[in-house]
Symmetry: C2
Subunit: 428 residues, 2 copies
């Protein structure tokens, strides 16, 4: 198990690879893994992936959600999304399938993926309850744990579990008054379950059982924020912060047992609250990696939520968020298409990279400097290959080809760089 190895001072092959890829010291990596500040989400039953680290001092990573829904069940389309997402630079994939044969989709995605795979087992437990003509709220505790065990055995590298969503936290959103209440699916299922069954959240109550399953195959827990705000007006309220306090306690318990853990975060957050949200998470959760969904900085732009979340994600990364969940242009409107997935991954990559640039990470700065030098030299091939999406750069440039090949059709011979490059050895 990774944390145990780190504590013993054993540098595993995964750690070696990551230290080299990220340009960090192996001893640094050992210490940060042992302290729960860095995770390497690899299930020991999932041997076919490239290991990848998330957390303090490493480049910001991004996740792409794919998966079927009840209305759209097409495994081939989901596998195309997987390919496109990885090609565009997704560091992990989450399979959030809720339609068709969910086990089959997951097996296919795990088999095809070259990056770590995450899931939300509660979805499947809820769907299997409805498949047995029950209501979601009638699923049993055993139903939930049996799905979690299945995912662990299948080799899922990390699972979202809404363990911190207690009756107390949910009560606070009711008591304070929210516009949108609960917008997390796992969160909504959990709150509805607690209301109906008049019981505590089973993933909180039987958390030790969950830790044992996770430890058995070194599956990482992504502690979900079931009460994440679903609109700007609900951000950073009592319910959200109450849940975060509990997530911090649960992260500490996981670490004590040697289970890798990260914390999920909002959601919809106005720009002026993002930095404080990161600071709070880092303090309350003792530096555990922070995995944010967006955040989306306005509610008013469906169709463009890859942009609203790239804005939030870049600011979050700047202030220390470690892992960004992409959002596609289709968010709030439909299940994303393959092209949406590509657009979402690229927007999220831009956010992560801009955050790394802002933090002064040398490899990120170097990439921008390489581009700047190509621009100054009017080296177009260099600009294309250095860009985040060379294919698009080339197609845009070629679609309106300039008469002079050393410039582009925006400025032509009036190119600022060309005009000044003509002035040799100038001084003023």
């Amino acid at each position: 198990m990774l944390i145990e190895n780190a504590r013993r001072g054993t540098v595993t092959p995964e750690m070696k690879k990551i230290a080299e890829a990220e340009g960090v010291d192996e001893q640094y990596l050992l210490r940060e893994i042992a302290d729960g500040h860095i995770i390497i989400p690899v299930n020991k039953n999932h041997t076919s992936i490239e290991p990848m680290g998330i957390g303090r001092g490493l480049t910001t990573k991004i996740n792409a959600n794919i998966g079927t829904s009840k209305d759209c069940v097409d495994i081939d389309e989901e596998l195309r999304k997987l390919d496109v997402a990885i090609k565009a630079g997704a560091d992990t994939i989450m399979d959030l399938s809720t339609g068709g044969d969910i086990d089959e989709v997951r097996h296919e995605i795990i088999r095809h993926s070259t990056v770590p795979v995450g899931t939300v087992p509660l979805y499947q437990a809820a769907i299997e309850a409805t498949n047995r003509q029950k209501a979601i709220v009638e699923m049993s505790v055993e139903d939930i744990f049996s799905v979690i065990e299945r995912h662990a055995e299948d080799g899922v590298d990390f699972i979202t579990v809404h363990c911190g969503l207690t009756r107390q936290a949910a009560g606070k959103i009711k008591n304070e008054g929210r516009i949108m209440d609960v917008v997390s699916r796992g969160g909504s299922f959990t709150v509805a379950w607690m209301i109906h069954n008049k019981k505590e959240n089973p993933l909180y109550e039987y958390y030790d059982r969950l830790l044992d399953i996770a430890l058995s195959c070194d599956m990482t827990l992504s502690l979900g924020d079931g009460l994440r705000p679903g609109c700007i007006a609900d951000a950073t309220d009592r319910g959200q912060i109450q849940e975060l306090i509990t997530l911090g306690e649960l992260a500490q318990r996981a670490l004590a047992k040697g289970v890798q853990v990260m914390i999920e975060g909002p959601g919809h957050v106005p720009i002026n609250q993002i930095e404080s949200n990161i600071l709070l998470q880092k303090r309350l959760c003792h530096g555990a990696p922070f995995y944010v969904l967006g955040p989306l900085v306005t509610d008013a732009a469906p169709g463009y939520d890859h942009i609203t979340s790239a804005i939030g994600g870049a600011i979050a990364a700047t202030h220390g968020a470690d892992f960004l969940c992409y959002v596609t242009p289709s968010e709030h409107l439909r299940l994303p298409t393959v092209e949406d997935v590509r657009e979402g991954v690229i927007a999220s990559k831009i956010a992560a990279h801009a955050g790394d640039v802002a933090k002064g990470m040398q490899r990120a700065l170097d990439r921008d400097i390489a581009m700047a030098r190509c621009r100054k030299k009017m080296d177009w091939e260099g600009q294309i290959t250095t860009s985040l999406d060379p294919e698009r750069s080339r197609s845009f440039r070629d679609s309106r080809a300039p008469a002079d090949r050393d410039v582009c059709t925006m400025c032509g011979e009036y190119c600022a760089i060309k005009v000044l490059n003509k002035q040799e050895n100038w001084d003023l």
Copy 2:
């Protein structure tokens, strides 16, 4: 003239409209105009537009650049860009034409536009020199001023003039060492002219003549940043700040004469430097409106610079930038298409709105709350009409129609909102 009226305490019809549209007090507007913190760029020769204010306490505005280039001369396409930009929400248009009959394009754009129009007269002066078989650097001082007079008479509402780009400032970029030197076209022409002619920048040297022209028709001066950084590594360097100091002095001189003025800003700036850039401009230029180009938060994403600049623009607006110049997906690659213009305007609108939300501007918050309430009620028609781009929202939703019309194809019956809405009068 607007500033004179404000100082006399005369509320003009333009001020009345703007006070009402923005929900600010008329006396506040008078004081802020008199102090040079708010401008209303309307040339007295341009009577066909809706007046619009830019500056402290008003919503963040956005500009869309259009115009021909040497490689792409098609007035009809430019007029389509104008229409699309205004429909998508551009508050002003700049005609940056450098190809074809530049006077004709400008006349057509001024005639068709319902929003203020800006230009960069130096481009035309340079092009007219080359049309006379001269080099750009051989244009005369009279050439420059005669084009400025022509634009003023035509009714151009604001012109970019790179008056602060002195020999001293340009010398600093040479002396310090920059990767990209000058990327502003007007800046590059000016530096090359100063090198070739061994003279000071004429727009600095004869600044009073420029002020007289501007005052004659209440044309606003947009003091350009010819040394704006063209890459992350060049941001906030000595040359940029030296020019900004001079722009502050020139803004003060303009205000003293009753000429409306705003200050242009970068450019390529890493996220961690944006707030300081705004603070510096506001302090050095005594609160003059700040018009930023982007800023782009990374150099590495050509093809997606509407996103890199939406990130920077949203952060800039949050910290007090008043006016955002859009950037299209085609930036750095080609003259933008009509569709690029639309994408650029929407991305910039999102940035401006997110900034207004972050600043707690009530009208911006209200729009997000309206969307959130529609989502909670699963009112899809309301969500579509409240959204920034109703057409896209509708087409996305309709393209994958859900079996149950109260949800969407992302979650179907497992919709978090629907699941919890079923639990009536719950408490925990």
